[in-house]
């Protein structure tokens, strides 16, 4: 037995309340774990020591409890319940005597009633299904008519309200305009003209400045272009002049060579060429 026994098993062993098999298992465990056995023996010694505490001697005092004796019949529960039921039934009977009970059973319905039967007005007889349908359709038609009439009336009221509102608004506007004086109109127009003039002036000023700037830029670009063109032309002319000079020098050298040759060989015949 490797698993440690729990406290309840140990206590049951201590008091000799384990069965043979469990006792054997526990003793096997104690052989492997003598420390546990020693601990249990310690508890056994505690029992022996505590067993030395003696009982106190005491004499039972007389205990007087209210003598119930034989309970009278009317104190028993059965009697009380029975009397309660009987009283209830008696009450119902007396109430029934004065109120006039009526018990009916008809069409699977049980009715218990007290007092006089109240007469309910009989419903009007002779109503057929067709009459009912006719009544319903006439009622529906009346209802529709009244709804349509009220709708038309509402529309008329709404239109009238709109027209009244617009006319009132227009009247107010016209009134405001008519109330304005001649001077106010003039000042308004002159203000308008001044504003337009100022606007035009600003526009032209802005436009002239832009054009001037553009023209200047264009002239500068054009002069640069001319300068560049001239430079290139000069370079071209210089190159041509150099070429001519070179050719001239070469011709000059050849001429000198020929002359030198003619001078150095004056006797040679023309046929040696």
């Amino acid at each position: 037995m490797n698993n440690k026994p729990d406290e309840s098993t140990l206590v049951a062993y201590l008091y000799g309340e384990l069965n043979e098999k469990e006792t054997k298992k526990l003793e096997d465990y104690f052989q492997q774990h003598p420390d546990e056995l020693a601990k249990l023996r310690g508890l056994s010694e505690v029992r022996e020591v505590m067993g030395q505490a003696q009982d106190k001697e005491v004499i039972a005092p007389p205990i007087f409890v209210g003598d119930a004796g034989i309970r009278p019949l009317w104190h028993s529960n059965y009697f009380r319940v029975s009397v309660g039921i009987a009283a209830s039934i008696l009450f119902i009977l007396v109430a029934g005597k004065f109120l006039g009970p009526e018990i009916n059973y008809s069409k699977g319905e049980l009715r218990i009633s007290f007092g006089k039967k109240t007469e309910q007005p009989a419903p009007p007889s002779g109503l057929t299904e067709e009459k009912v349908n006719e009544l319903i359709s006439s009622s529906l038609a009346k209802n529709n008519e009244s709804i349509a009439a009220s709708r038309t009336e509402d529309q008329k009221k709404l239109m009238q309200t709109l027209v009244d509102f617009n006319s009132k608004k227009m009247d107010a506007l016209t009134k405001t305009v008519s109330q304005a004086s001649q001077e106010q109109v003039r000042s308004f127009v002159s203000n308008l003209q001044d504003q337009n003039l100022k606007l035009m002036k600003d526009y032209f000023q802005l436009s002239t400045a832009d054009q001037k700037k553009y023209m200047e830029n264009m002239l500068v670009d054009f002069s640069n272009y001319l300068q560049e063109q001239r430079k290139q032309d000069l370079q071209f002319v210089q190159a041509k002049v150099n070429s001519l000079e070179k050719n001239n020098n070469q011709f000059k050298q050849e001429t000198e060579q020929i002359l030198t040759s003619l001078i150095s060989n004056p006797g040679k015949k023309k046929n040696n060429y």
Binding site: E7, V49, A53, V58, A60, P61
Partner: protein, 209 residues
């Protein structure tokens, strides 16, 4: 603990309980005489207080008298009676906690022949010195018992001094048998430590095997 005539009578009191349950006054009186000492000693060991033990015992037997008719099984009388006693003990503990009073009985009892415990030694025909020694030893062990928690103390007293079976204790306290055994184990373990602290052993108390 040697069985006395009283113990034997208690073990064979089934017919007495049955008659008492039917309202036999004589049987009820005999039951009180039979069980009063046990319930008193249980309560005394629980409180270590004579007055409280007397009060709990009286309340227990008054309750027994009123409710015995409702006892279903005669065989469960013992655990039923201890259930009543335990409930009254717990009630007194609650009252005691609320009032925080102490008994004059707990004051210093004095020593030797001046002690009032000399006067209350029980067996008059025994050697008075030996009686006093036993009384002091009982008080010493009782003080050790008082250091346990209520739950452990209830179980230890019921098992060690009242000789209830684990099943009966479980019924009386309305807990499982395993819980009873577990409380018993930890109760004994706690007592072992307390006895060690107070250096009380078989040798120091002159225990004769």
């Amino acid at each position: 603990m040697a069985e006395t005539l009283l113990d034997i009578a208690m073990m064979h009191s089934d017919s007495l309980i049955a008659r008492a349950r039917e309202g036999d006054k004589n049987a009820q009186g005999k039951l009180v005489q039979l069980w009063y000492k046990r319930i008193y000693n249980f309560s005394y060991k629980f409180f270590f207080d004579h007055d409280l033990a007397m009060e709990v015992s009286q309340k227990t037997f008054i309750s027994m008298h009123k409710n015995l008719v409702g006892l279903q099984e005669v065989g469960r009388f013992k655990s039923w009676l201890y259930t009543i006693a335990v409930n009254y003990c717990r009630e007194e503990v609650r009252k005691k906690k609320a009032s925080r009073s102490f008994s004059l009985y707990d004051l210093n009892p004095g020593e030797g022949e001046e002690s009032y415990r000399w006067e209350e030694s029980h067996n008059r025909n025994e050697n008075p010195e030996r009686q006093l020694r036993h009384s002091e030893l009982s008080d010493l062990l009782q003080s050790c018992l008082m250091e346990l928690s209520h739950e452990q103390r209830e179980v230890v007293i019921m098992k060690e001094y009242e000789g209830l079976k684990f099943r009966e204790i479980a019924e009386a306290l309305n807990i499982s048998e395993n819980t009873v055994k577990s409380r018993m184990y930890y109760g004994l373990d706690g007592l072992k430590k307390i006895l060690e602290q107070k250096k009380i052993t078989k040798e120091t108390i002159g225990y004769e095997q």
